[in-house]
């Protein structure tokens, strides 16, 4: 089921009005509804980027499955990485309702024509990073994703509802892992602090550039695709995370982090936005490695896709009493 192609003609004004009214009612846009081409493009761009992030996001942690410290941690990490694959599939499925095929999306990712979240271009260097990624990276993702459950494009919102239910496990397993390490040796506690120091700023960058440098935000909010600005969500994340860090017994590497009684929020410093743009443009620590790995998996899987297709064709033929 694909979207009806955007039409232009004498009726376009009426269709635009109907679309605007649906969005204004906070009703959902569904795949076969008429929608402005720019809306379709924006949703495809955002959902595809989100799907790619889930798929690429399997790599930093997947790297640790074979080196998990116990069977319990290994089972948890396997389940988590499998969830990321599932989340990628829910989101690809939502993107496909807009008439873009799964293969096209994968090929655009591999060709570098579509982005994924810059956070996954940072390496996971120790097992503490598995915990920090769950706590801070998935925590930031939850902040971003909960409001997206009410996004104006129906299939995207429904995918987000499923994802948010499962992300809660991701964050909690990460926090529990770090708590366990904090009850361990001085060396283990130092590993946790070092990991948090490395991930804090990249986690803040996950909300995207500051509002005055985020050209797509205004239109996305007018269309109901986004419901909060990048800075609003970043503030929410900081406010949530500080008491969690206190409970854990770690600090964040930000000298400007301080409770502001007047605002009722924490004040905090800005991440290095030059670093952010460098990573987005492909110059992060792991960009090349992540894409090379994804490309290899895609190429190595080609014979499986072909064999399954050949088997399906053969089965159909033999069921039709064909060549035995």
């Amino acid at each position: 089921m694909t979207a009806a192609p955007g039409t232009t003609g004498p009726d376009t004004a009426a269709l635009e009005e109907q679309f605007a009214a649906t969005v204004a009612r906070k009703d959902r846009i569904e795949p076969r509804d008429w929608m402005p081409e720019a809306y379709r493009k924006t949703v495809v761009r955002q959902v595809a980027q989100h799907a790619h992030s889930e798929i690429i996001g399997m790599q930093p942690e997947g790297n640790w499955i074979g080196r998990a410290p116990s069977l319990r941690r290994k089972a948890i990490l396997l389940a988590k990485v499998q969830d990321e694959a599932g989340h990628g599939l829910y989101l690809y499925s939502a993107t496909e309702t807009l008439g873009v095929s799964r293969r096209e999306l994968t090929e655009m990712l591999i060709a570098g024509k579509q982005k994924y979240s810059s956070i996954f271009n940072y390496p996971a260097l120790s097992y503490a990073d598995v915990g920090t990624i769950g706590w801070l990276v998935d925590g930031a993702a939850i902040c971003n994703q909960v409001p997206l459950c009410r996004t104006s494009y129906g299939p995207y919102g429904r995918a987000m509802i499923r994802i948010c239910k499962e992300e809660s496990f991701h964050q909690r397993q990460g926090f529990e892992l770090l708590m366990t390490m904090m009850r361990g040796t001085d060396e283990q506690r130092a590993m946790v602090q070092e990991s948090v120091d490395r991930f804090w700023w990249p986690a803040l960058m996950m909300f995207g550039p500051p509002d005055d440098d985020s050209p797509n935000t205004e239109q996305s909010m007018a269309w109901g695709i986004k419901t909060h600005t990048n800075d609003e969500l970043r503030q929410k994340f900081v406010d949530m995370s500080v008491p969690q860090a206190e409970a854990l017994g770690v600090t964040f590497p930000d000298p400007d982090l301080e409770w502001n009684e007047e605002r009722g929020h924490y004040d905090f410093g800005q991440p290095d936005w030059e670093e952010f743009w460098a990573v987005v443009k492909g110059n992060g620590p792991c960009n090349a490695q992540r894409l090379a790995h994804r490309t290899k998996a895609w190429d190595d899987g080609a014979w499986v896709r072909e064999a399954a297709t050949a088997f399906a064709e053969k089965t159909v033929k033999s069921q039709n009493g064909g060549d035995r």
Binding site: R32, L89, T97, S101, E107, R158, R162, R305, T315
Partner: protein, 97 residues
Amino acid sequence: MSEIKAEWPLYEVFVRGKRGLNHVHVGSLHAADDQMALRHARDVYTRRNEGVSIWVVRSTDITASSPDEKDPMFAPSGDKVYRHPTFYDIPDNVPHM
């Protein structure tokens, strides 16, 4: 990049959450054939006991109404208010109705 002949067809997935409930559409996936679609549906959509039964159907086999039709398909029910129980005035002192 290696070329594959064609993309696996798209299937729509319906899951019965528990006995007594209808199958509900949960999303879609690609698979080479019906059996693979069922297995993929189990792995993608029921990792946490979300279902006791799964239907998969090729997306191309679904016929859907168009929400954009000028003369909406659902107009015939729009003016038949007498099909709803609230259409009928019953005095308050009549019990159990």
